[in-house]
Structure formats: structure tokens, C-alpha cells
């Protein structure tokens, strides 16, 4: 059985050419049509004369044409880098440069357009990590994830990894011919491996949310109801938007059978209202990351009207290996607390820039399995008596907001580049919509006229929108320190509500 997504999609197109593959902007695009679009994109791609031994850089916002272009790359067996379009152009150029992309291409801008060069070109000055050690034969998708220094990290995914994941997802969430799956996430999120790629492989129908309307609760509610969506996967924000949009109308979504919340901790108030919103659905919390895809899952029992105090990440998925280790790297057996390490059949073989694997992908001897490479999640978990895991905290500077992992260290470093900044600390504060928001506390040079506007203007072009601090406090006293003289972020006070902070 082929592992190739392109082959499976082609098979579905042969079997059921009239069946809807995508719903976009109120109309259905059949498997047959999408196959034709992919063939056209393939021809247009080849006409660009891209070098055979380099990956393709994709600069694409979600659309049927973008999906057709990805299918074309898969069919041509051309590895591609698909980063977030929210990144600053300079960052994108460097990422494409690092991937060794021969060229950056963008999909047709509509049914009458054609595949063509992207707005950004690969940066020649960035050292290309291509071809990577370990060869290129086993790379299909390359996605990105935030690093704590420098550029986002490029995460290559093999056809085998994607094959395993899509098989698991189709089986677990009952995705088959005719199943309607909502795709809320942006095109470059690993969530799309379920929403879009599992669905197209299995012959289902992807109901695409237009990114431009991703915060319009009314639009989202109508989309789910009108299309009788079966499966919804999203970060908590979608559920908050749906709750708000249906508050007065009392709308519900009886067609939905599987609800998956992922990416951020879902607030208890949202979780409590899911059974009302989705009366016929099983509700799951799924835990994972770009490096490993999903690793843990918990199914909620919300029938009694109670929500757990701490949202569990649950148990490992089938064939996933989860270890909890203490500070010395020794395994914690039974109940206890420690860092979570995972091995999944869907994980990356390592970052494209292999130097960044150090300390993150680690080797462990496993009983009966020999040696395996585990991914250190940086999450501190508690294992309960029944084996259930709950999240307790982080070991480093990453926070998640809006489903995107942001490094507070990166934000601090960017602010520090301003010549008038003496000290800066960035902390995450809870936010009901986004999960977390960033708060920056800055000590500037006295009499520098430095204020919140100075910081914000300085950060434009240095940070992506999702990395911008939501609030900024200018202080006149040095920041609190630990006994070893480092900034003690735990002692930084969160922002006051709505009042001008003195400082």
C-alpha cells in the first residue's frame, strides 16, 4: 500500500470524482475538479524550470489553489517548505534560504490565475541546510516552529510519518468518504495534517474557513451548520467565538460528532459549554507539537456538568511512547512529576538545521526497543495513579497564544536591541481568547523619552504579529533578580487592568 498522499488522493479522485473534496466560499470543489487543478498546478510548476535537487519554497495563503499546488508538489515528489505568511518578509526570505529553496512560488490567485513566483525570494546570504545529512529522499512537507533564538526551526516530515498519522487520525475520528471536516487552522499549521490531508486521503470533504473571516463568529457558526460538519478541530478560540455568536440565538451544532480542542489550555468556561453547543459529539483534548504531531489525548466526560480543574492531556496515542523524567534525566515511574519526553511514529527525524537538535532530540534506551530518539517537550507533567497526565508548567521560555508557540526570549532579545533599553523581561499572562498574551516590562535609559510607542515601532519588522507584546510597562527601577543575579520573571507583576501603569 503506497504511503504517498498524492497516490491516495488520486485514487479517491478516480473512485468518486463527483464527490465534494473542498467547500470554499460557498461552493463545492469535487475530487475530479481538484485533481484537474492539481494537474494544472503541476504543469505550471514544472514550466518554471525549478532545479530538480532543491526544495520548493511555498508562499501561500489558504485557498483551493494553494491545496492544488501542494498536491502538485507531492505528486512531483518535490519537498517543499510551507512557512507562516504572518512572518516578516525578511524572516521568510531567510527561512527559504536556509531550506535551500531553488525558488519561492505562490499558487494561482484564483481559477483564472497560474502558479508563479512568490513575493519573497530565498535569501542568498543565509547558509542553506540543503541537502541535509540523512538525505533528501524522505522529506515531503517541511513546516516551521518557533525557536528560542534566531530563525524559526524548519521541521521536515517524511511521507511515512504523514502516512502513519493520517491513518491514525482517520481511524480515531471516523473520517471516511463523505465525512465533513472543518479546517479552521491556517494552511501551515500541523493541524492541517488532520483537517485537510487526512480528509483528502480518506475521501472526505474539507470545509475550509477563510482566514480573513476567522474571527467572525456568525460566519463560522453558519459554515458549520450549513455544511453539517462532522469533525471540528481547533484551538480554544474557535469555541469561544461560537459560544459568543450563538448566545442569543441558542444555536447548536447537532451534526458534529467529534470535537477536538488542541494547542492551548481550553478555559473551563468554554469547556463547560461544549456539550450544549455540540450535543452529539465526543469531545477530546489533543496534545502535540509540530515536531512530533499528536502524542497524547484525553476524552472528556462532560455529561455530569462538571469540568476538570486541570485539563488533562490524558494518555499516549497508540504506539506512542511517553516518558516522564526528573531533573537528572532519570525516569519517573508511577505517579510523580517531571518533564515529558515523547516518541511518536509521526515525528520528524530532526530539525533541518541539525545543530538545533542538541538537547531537544535525545537518545534513550528503551526496554525491548533498543535505542530511540525522544523529543523533549519542555512541558512539566504530573502522572496520576491511573496513568493520566496533566500539564503543570514549562521548563523554558515558550508560551502558546492563539495556537502559535512563541518564545518570550525571542521577544526580549528583540526589545533589547534598542539602544535605550537597559533591562527587559517578557512574561505571559492568561487571556481568555488567545490563551496567553505577552506583557513586556522595560527599564530604559533615564531621560530617553522612551515609551510604549518607542517599543512598538522598534519591533515592527523584527517580530511577527503574533510575537508582539499586548501590553508594555515602562519602569524606572531595575527588575527583580534571583540570588544569582538573573532577572526573576516570577516576581514580575502582571499588568493592571485598563489603568495607566505608573513607572
Amino acid at each position: 500500500m503506497s504511503e504517498s498522499l498524492a497516490d491516495h488522493f488520486a485514487q479517491q479522485a478516480e473512485r468518486q470524482p463527483e464527490a465534494p473534496a473542498l467547500i470554499w466560499d460557498g461552493r463545492a470543489i469535487s475530487y475530479g475538479e481538484l485533481q484537474e487543478m492539481a494537474s494544472r498546478a503541476h504543469a505550471e510548476l514544472e514550466a518554471l524550470g525549478l532545479p530538480a535537487d532543491r526544495p520548493v519554497g511555498l508562499q501561500a495563503r489558504k485557498s483551493p489553489e494553494a491545496i492544488a499546488l501542494i498536491l502538485a508538489c507531492l505528486k512531483a515528489q518535490r519537498p517543499f517548505l510551507l512557512p507562516s505568511i504572518e512572518l516578516a518578509p525578511e524572516t521568510l526570505a531567510k527561512l527559504f534560504g536556509q531550506a535551500g529553496a531553488g525558488q519561492v512560488v505562490s499558487p494561482a490567485d484564483g481559477p483564472d490565475g497560474a502558479v508563479g513566483p512568490g513575493e519573497v525570494a530565498p535569501d542568498e546570504a543565509t547558509e542553506a541546510q540543503w541537502p541535509p545529512a540523512g538525505g533528501v529522499g524522505d522529506i515531503a512537507f517541511m513546516l516551521t516552529t518557533s525557536g528560542s533564538t534566531g530563525l524559526p526551526k524548519i521541521v521536515p516530515l517524511s511521507p511515512g510519518a504523514i502516512h502513519h498519522f493520517t491513518d491514525w487520525a482517520a481511524s480515531q475520528f471516523e473520517i471516511g468518504p463523505g465525512t465533513k471536516v472543518l479546517n479552521y487552522a491556517p494552511l501551515n499549521f500541523d493541524l492541517c495534517l488532520l483537517d485537510i490531508w487526512t480528509t483528502l486521503k480518506a475521501g472526505g470533504c474539507v470545509v475550509l474557513v477563510d482566514q480573513a473571516k476567522a474571527t467572525h463568529g456568525g460566519y463560522l457558526a453558519d459554515l458549520i451548520a450549513d455544511n453539517e460538519v462532522d469533525v471540528v478541530q481547533s484551538v480554544p478560540m474557535l469555541y469561544r467565538l461560537l459560544i459568543d455568536a450563538t448566545r442569543e440565538s441558542g444555536g447548536r451544532f447537532p451534526s458534529v460528532k467529534q470535537v477536538i480542542t488542541t494547542g492551548d489550555k481550553i478555559p473551563a468556561t468554554s469547556l463547560a459549554q461544549l456539550p450544549d453547543l455540540f450535543p452529539n459529539a465526543r469531545v477530546f483534548n489533543v496534545y502535540g507539537c509540530t515536531e512530533t504531531n499528536d502524542s497524547m489525548m484525553h476524552e472528556f466526560d462532560l455529561s455530569g456538568g462538571e469540568v476538570p480543574a486541570k485539563v488533562p492531556i490524558g494518555h499516549p496515542l497508540p504506539d506512542v511512547d511517553a516518558r516522564v523524567e526528573d531533573e537528572d534525566g532519570a525516569p519517573v515511574e508511577g505517579a510523580g512529576t517531571g518533564e515529558l519526553l515523547v516518541w511518536t511514529p509521526f515525528q520528524t527525524r530532526g530539525y533541518l538545521d541539525a545543530a538545533r537538535n542538541e538537547g531537544t532530540f535525545v537518545s534513550r534506551a528503551d526496554d525491548g526497543q533498543g535505542e530511540r530518539t525522544y523529543y523533549r517537550t519542555g512541558d512539566i507533567v504530573r502522572r496520576h495513579e491511573d496513568g493520566l497526565l496533566t500539564l503543570e508548567g514549562r521548563t523554558d521560555f515558550y508560551v502558546k497564544g492563539g495556537g502559535v508557540r512563541v518564545s518570550t526570549q525571542v521577544v526580549e532579545q528583540a526589545i533589547e536591541e534598542h539602544p535605550d533599553v537597559v533591562e527587559v523581561a517578557v512574561i505571559a499572562v492568561p487571556d481568555e481568547m488567545a490563551g496567553s498574551k505577552l506583557h513586556a516590562v522595560v527599564l530604559p535609559q533615564p531621560d530617553s523619552g522612551f515609551n510604549g510607542m518607542t517599543v512598538r515601532k522598534h519591533l515592527v519588522g523584527r517580530l511577527a504579529r503574533t510575537e508582539m507584546p499586548g501590553s508594555i510597562q515602562i519602569v524606572t527601577e531595575p527588575l527583580p533578580k534571583t540570588s544569582t543575579g538573573k532577572i526573576d520573571r516570577k516576581k514580575i507583576a502582571p499588568p493592571q487592568d485598563r489603568s495607566r501603569v505608573a513607572g
Binding site: 473571516k213 476567522a214 474571527t215 467572525h216 481568547m433 515609551n451 510604549g452 510607542m453 512598538r456 515601532k457 519591533l459 515592527v460 519588522g461 517580530l463 504579529r465 510575537e467 508582539m468 507584546p469 499586548g470 501590553s471 508594555i472 510597562q473 515602562i474 499588568p495 487592568d497 485598563r498 489603568s499 495607566r500 501603569v501
Partner: protein
Amino acid sequence: MDDTAKIKQFIVDEFMPDMSPDELDSDFDLQTGGAVDSLGLLKLVAWMESEFGVSVDESELGPDSLRTVDSIKAFIDERREPANA
């Protein structure tokens, strides 16, 4: 309070509470600057509708609409109903 001052007051109150209105540059790009995200844009539009009596259709909002205080003011000026006075 003139319209530009009102707009600045709303923007800082809602999105940049650490700042005072006079610190906000009229040509600062609120979106790339991370102050107004897609949710924030909805709040802004709702406020513009209630404060200035303009009605805004989603389809009127292009990628460059409402990015700066100046462009918000221009948008309102183009669309507001004749003054009550």
C-alpha cells in the same frame, strides 16, 4: 474632543493601555505593530459604528483599511452621515 483625539483615546484604552493618546503616532501601523489583531478589528469597527454612526460592511474593508489612526479618521469622514446639528 476632536475625532482624531477620540480615535486615539479608544485605541489606547482598548489595545495599548500602557500609553496615553498623545504618545500614539497617527501614522503608526496598528496591525503590523501588533496592537490590533483580527479580533481587535471587529471591536474597532463596532465602536466606529456606534460612536460615529457609520455603517461598515465587511466587504468594504480591504487589507489597507483602518491600519492607522489617520486612515481610520479618513474612513469615517468618507462614510459618516450628515451631522445632526
